[in-house]
C-alpha cells in the first residue's frame, strides 16, 4: 500500500516535471506561421526568385513567395487574399521545355494555390509595368518575342482569355476595364476589355514625347484619375481617359533653372512615386551626366506636391537608390531601396525623416 502510494507520488512528480518542461521547451517539431491581414504599410521586394513581403510599420518580414527565375514583378490583390505573379519554368531549370504561367499565391499561407498557363512569351525581366491587375478582374502580362503583345487571364474563372497584339507598345498600366501602354512613336495606347477579357476598343493619344530627344521612362505610377509619366529631362505628364479619348495634361518640369544649371537629373529603375491621398510626388535625383545616365542611382530624394507642382523638400541619401515607392495611405512612408548595401530605408513621406532601416533585403519595391 505504501509502495503504491509512493509510486503515485513519483508519477505525479514526473508528470509535473513534464508539464513544466512543456512550458519551458518548444515542441521538437516547429509550427508553421500564417500571415495576418495586410496592413497599410505592407510592401514587397522582388530580388532574384524570391519575393519578400514586409511591413514598413514594424520592419518585420511577413513571409516570402517562391518565384520563377523569370518573374520580374508581383501584383497584390488584397480583396481576393491573393498575390499574383507570372513566371517561366523549364523542365531542367535553365533548359528543356518552357512553360509560362500566371501564379496565384494565397496571402495567408504565402503558397501557390493555383496557376493559369499563358503563351511562352512573357517578358523575363523588368519592373511592375510588366504585369497589371485590370479592374480587379483580369491580369495582363506584357509579352515580347520581340513582337509585342499582352496575355490576359481572368482571375475569377482562372482561365487564359486570350492574347492581344500590341505592336510597338510596351507595359500594362491598368485604368478602368483596360490598360495604358507606352508606344515607340511617343504616344500612349489604351486597350479596353469586355466582360470576357477580350479587346473591345483601342485609343491612341497624341504624340506627347520624342523618343529621340526626351523619351519618358517606361516606368509609371497611378494617380487618382490615371497615370503619371516622367521624361528623362524631368517633364511630368499626367494621362487619363475622358470622353473616350486619352487626355495628356500640360507637362510641368521638376527642375528649376537653377536645378538644371547645377546638373540635377531624375534617374533610377523606379525613379519616382506618388501617393494619391496626399498628392506627394517623389523623385530620385543625381547630379551630372546626360540622358544616358537615366538608370544611375539617385543621391537625393525630392518631394513635390503633384497638385501644386511645387517642391516641398529635398533630402540627401546616405545610401544611393534606384528604387522608391510610396504607400497608399494618408500618412504614407516612402521606401528607399539602397544600392550600396542590401537595405531599405523607411522615411516619413511628409517630412523625409528616417523612421527605420530594414536590413538584408533589396530589389524591385511594390506597395500593397
Amino acid at each position: 500500500m505504501v509502495l503504491r502510494a509512493s509510486c503515485l507520488v513519483l508519477l505525479g512528480a514526473v508528470l509535473s516535471l513534464a508539464a513544466v518542461a512543456e512550458q519551458r521547451w518548444d515542441s521538437i517539431r516547429g509550427a508553421i506561421e500564417t500571415a495576418p491581414p495586410p496592413g497599410p504599410h505592407w510592401f514587397t521586394l522582388r530580388n532574384g526568385h524570391t519575393g519578400h513581403v514586409l511591413d514598413a510599420a514594424t520592419g518585420e518580414s511577413q513571409g516570402t513567395l517562391t518565384l520563377s527565375l523569370f518573374s520580374p514583378a508581383l501584383r497584390p490583390h488584397v480583396e481576393a487574399g491573393m498575390v499574383y505573379t507570372y513566371g517561366s519554368f523549364y523542365t531542367r531549370t535553365y533548359y528543356g521545355d518552357r512553360t509560362d504561367a500566371v501564379i496565384f499565391f494565397d496571402l495567408e499561407t504565402m503558397s501557390p494555390v493555383d496557376e493559369v498557363i499563358i503563351p511562352p512569351k512573357a517578358a523575363g525581366i523588368g519592373h511592375s509595368g510588366m504585369i497589371g491587375l485590370i479592374d480587379q478582374r483580369f491580369i495582363g502580362v506584357w509579352n515580347i518575342t520581340p513582337g509585342m503583345s499582352v496575355s490576359i487571364v481572368d482571375v475569377e474563372s482562372r482561365t487564359f482569355t486570350g492574347e492581344i497584339s500590341t505592336p510597338g507598345c510596351a507595359t500594362v498600366y491598368p485604368q478602368g476595364r483596360g490598360f495604358f501602354m507606352i508606344c515607340g512613336d511617343g504616344a500612349l495606347q489604351y486597350v479596353s476589355l469586355d466582360e470576357t477579357g477580350t479587346e473591345n476598343g483601342r485609343l491612341r493619344s497624341r504624340t506627347f514625347f520624342s523618343v529621340e530627344d526626351d523619351p519618358v521612362f517606361d516606368y509609371s505610377v497611378p494617380t487618382e484619375h490615371g497615370w503619371v509619366f516622367v521624361s528623362l529631362e524631368g517633364m511630368v505628364f499626367e494621362a487619363r481617359i475622358e470622353d473616350d479619348e486619352i487626355v495628356i495634361e500640360e507637362p510641368w518640369s521638376i527642375l528649376s533653372e537653377t536645378d538644371r544649371a547645377d546638373g540635377w537629373r531624375i534617374s533610377g529603375r523606379q525613379p519616382f512615386a506618388y501617393n494619391a491621398a496626399t498628392g506627394i510626388f517623389m523623385t530620385l535625383m543625381h547630379q551630372g551626366g546626360t540622358q544616358d545616365n537615366y538608370k544611375e542611382p539617385g543621391t537625393e530624394l525630392w518631394a513635390f506636391n503633384l497638385r501644386t507642382q511645387r517642391r516641398g523638400y529635398r533630402t540627401e541619401l546616405d545610401n544611393p537608390s534606384r528604387n522608391i515607392a510610396l504607400t497608399r495611405d494618408d500618412d504614407p512612408v516612402v521606401l528607399v531601396v539602397g544600392t550600396e548595401d542590401r537595405s531599405v530605408d523607411v522615411r516619413q513621406a511628409r517630412s523625409g525623416r528616417l523612421l527605420r532601416t530594414i536590413e538584408e533585403v533589396g530589389g524591385l519595391v511594390q506597395v500593397f
Partner: protein
C-alpha cells in the same frame, strides 16, 4: 577574284547597307514605322543566323582596336548590359561552350578611340545556361526604354534561342555608323 573576296565584298556591302539604312530610317521615318522596319531587319537576322558572325569576322580584320575586351571600359561596350562573355569561357565575339547565341539583339553606336570612328555594335546574348555572373557591366550610351526595343538593354534578349535563360553578352561590330554609301 576568289570566292572569299566575293563574299567579303558582298558582306561589306551588307554592312554599309545596314548602317546607311539605319541612319536613313532614323532621319526620314516616324518612330513607329522605324520600329516595324527595325523588327523586320532583326527578324531577317534571325533567318540568317550566321550572318552577324561572318560579318564580325570581316569587320575584325579591318577595325583597328585598343583596350581590354574583358573590361567594361572596352569601347564596344558603350551600351552593354550584362556579363562580359570573355570572362565566362567565350570572348567579345563568341559565346562560351554549351551556350546558345540569340539571333536578334539590341544595337548601340560606339566610338572607337583607335580610329576615331563610330561603329554599330550588336549586343547578342548567349543563352541556355545559368547566369555567368562574372564581369558585370552596365553602360547606357544612346540606350532607350523598353518601348524602343532595338535600343533597349533592359530586355531579356534571348530571342531565337531554345531557352531564354541569360548567360552573358557579346559585342559584335556590324558596321560603321558614319557610312552612307553602298560599297
Amino acid at each position: 577574284m576568289s570566292g572569299d573576296d566575293m563574299l567579303g565584298r558582298l558582306f561589306a556591302g551588307v554592312d554599309k547597307l545596314a548602317a546607311g539604312t539605319s541612319r536613313k530610317l532614323a532621319r526620314h521615318t516616324s518612330r513607329r514605322s522605324f520600329l516595324g522596319r527595325a523588327g523586320a531587319f532583326m527578324a531577317g537576322l534571325g533567318a540568317f543566323p550566321m550572318l552577324p558572325v561572318y560579318r564580325e569576322a570581316q569587320a575584325a580584320s579591318v577595325v583597328d582596336e585598343m583596350g581590354d575586351p574583358n573590361s567594361c571600359e572596352y569601347w564596344r561596350y558603350c551600351a552593354f548590359s550584362g556579363s562580359i562573355c570573355g570572362c565566362c569561357g567565350g570572348s567579345a565575339t563568341t559565346c562560351p561552350p554549351g551556350s546558345e547565341v540569340a539571333s536578334v539583339a539590341w544595337v548601340g553606336t560606339c566610338h572607337n578611340p583607335a580610329d576615331g570612328r563610330d561603329y554599330l555594335i550588336s549586343y547578342n546574348d548567349c543563352c541556355g545556361k545559368s547566369s555567368c555572373g562574372r564581369c558585370r557591366c552596365s553602360r547606357s550610351e544612346g540606350e532607350k526604354p523598353v518601348y524602343f526595343p532595338s535600343k533597349a538593354n533592359t530586355i531579356l534578349w534571348c530571342f531565337g534561342a531554345k531557352s531564354h535563360a541569360y548567360h552573358c553578352t557579346l559585342g559584335l561590330v556590324i558596321g560603321r555608323a558614319d557610312s552612307t554609301t553602298l560599297g
